[in-house]
């Protein structure tokens, strides 16, 4: 499979204050000779840390990223409050009123910009996936290379795919038009933290729908990195969980 290497961007990791573990290179086989060392080493992640839940006495649930390689907590986010969710849905409805009328060419421009950002930040995204759900770094890079063309494909083909069709009926000539529905809610899993988001959000955004995204509790760093890509590409306000948010517990990070 083809993928490209990009200059490493460590800014995001610094921003998140993630200390990348430096481990002595290990290469353990499955032979008997490797067994004792293997079991000692891989006994490390013994901590069973829940990815979502409410601590005793806590007001709100917490979403938590845990590195499956070493059991360390990377990042915690307090769950949004009911008011925040309500406000996000209201804003999304408001946005739909205008977004549905934005020209395909402009939607495509945003999507192409997002593809570019996705590639530029590919190394950062791949590292976040390795840290949060254990994906091998090379596979993370491949995933990013899978995502960028999705943005481009719908940027290039979306208008054609959604073009009205002529229907010839005995009653007269009709037109089949394809119009957006409104606010859509995506609930996506941790296994392909970038691809799952992109494959749902991108065609829908091109079609004029507005997307609310609930990513898996265990990959919130990836969720934030993707959110930032959509925001920086021009899709707008983005997350209600902005850094600098006044809520006291925001940004508790390992």
């Amino acid at each position: 499979m083809m993928f490209f290497f990009f200059s490493t961007s460590t800014n995001a990791l610094k921003r998140h204050n993630i200390r990348t573990r430096v481990t002595a290179k290990i290469s353990l086989g499955f032979g008997d000779e490797g067994a004792p060392e293997l079991s000692r080493y891989f006994a490390m992640p013994t901590a069973r840390t829940s990815h979502a839940g409410r601590d005793k006495g806590a007001e709100r649930a917490v979403l938590r990223s845990v590195n499956p390689y070493n059991g360390q907590t990377l990042h915690t986010v307090p769950e949004m409050t009911e008011e925040e969710i309500d406000s996000a849905i209201s804003k999304a409805c408001e946005r739909f009123k205008t977004w549905r009328h934005v020209a395909f060419s402009l939607r495509a421009t945003f999507l192409r910009r997002a593809a570019k950002l996705c590639r530029e930040r590919g190394e950062e995204l791949a590292r976040l996936m390795s840290l949060e759900m254990g994906k091998r770094i090379a596979e993370g890079r491949e995933e990013v290379e899978l995502c960028a063309p999705i943005f481009e494909y719908y940027a290039d083909r979306g208008e054609h795919l959604l073009a009205p069709e002529i229907l010839l009926s005995p009653l007269g000539d009709g037109t089949l038009v394809k119009e957006p529905l409104g606010v859509l809610f995506g609930v996506e899993p941790w296994n392909y933290p970038c691809y799952q988001i992109v494959r749902f959000a991108v065609p829908q955004l091109m079609a004029g729908n507005v997307v609310l995204m609930k990513h898996s509790s265990s990959v919130q760093l990836c969720a934030e990195a993707l959110d930032k890509i959509f925001r920086d590409a021009g899709f707008g306000f983005g997350s209600v969980h902005e850094p600098g948010d006044h809520r006291p517990h925001f940004g508790q990070r390992y």
Binding site: T23, R127, E188
Partner: protein, 306 residues
Amino acid sequence: MRVSALGAYTNLAITARTSDNVIDDDRVQGVSFTGSDASGERVAERAGRNVKKTILELGGSDPFVVLEDAEMELTIERAVFGKMTNMGQSCVAAKRFILHRAIADEFIDGFRQHLAELKMGDPLDETTGVAPLSSVDAAEKLEDQVKRSVAQGAQPILGGGRPSPHSTFFEPTILTKVKKGMPAYDEELFGPVAAVMVVPDEETAISIANDTKYGLGGSVYTRDIDRGRRVAAQIEAGMVFINHPAWIYEDMPFGGIKKSGYGRGMWSDWNPGVREPEARPRALISPKLRLQNSVLDFASVPYART
């Protein structure tokens, strides 16, 4: 209109429980869910109560059917990719390896050799072949499924468990003598465990391939592409590939039938037929457009205006 102020994508930091309230909200028009069967059922039920459109992409137990005329080196290479991609934690990972008895030994030997060479390690290390699963719970669940299968007569000829009792790592595992009634046959194994079944002929291969509640992807291995198409057409799944495990292309609708869900994750004007991607000269792809009822899914509200 101030275009720069438009915001069409919003990230919600919420738990699964809270997402129920979002599904209930009348301002939300549709839900797209990818994940486990159990959660998918809950989402569909919730959305159904609200008469709300859904796309569901749930589990899979993709068959990897190797016919007696398969090109062995290529097939083994693709099997390693199909099983080990994302450590098998993929809905379209190859899960059930259905082998014609004429080539079963050769395939198993080669497959085992390749898997045994992979080294466990840090996912950030370029040389790592076996990375951890996503959580201790995930590794524990898989270990339980393997143990129960072995207790019922499955034979682990490689791996079989975790390197230590509380590890997130799971050894690449090949289970032979897998039969109906075992978790390795009936359930989705979300990890690096290959369930192997040996069959006497093509007909039995197809019937075992279809003997599952899932219908997401699948693949058939043969030198005879026409035969591959014929067999692929009989496999009940949303996407069946020839000489390559089910995979993702930006212009190909993605999704399944049966308990694997409904609707398609991407839509396109993809020309049904066979395509040869440059990167994989011998991978022929045959998504089953005839099984799709709705390519455009959420993207649009088609209605006629006269």
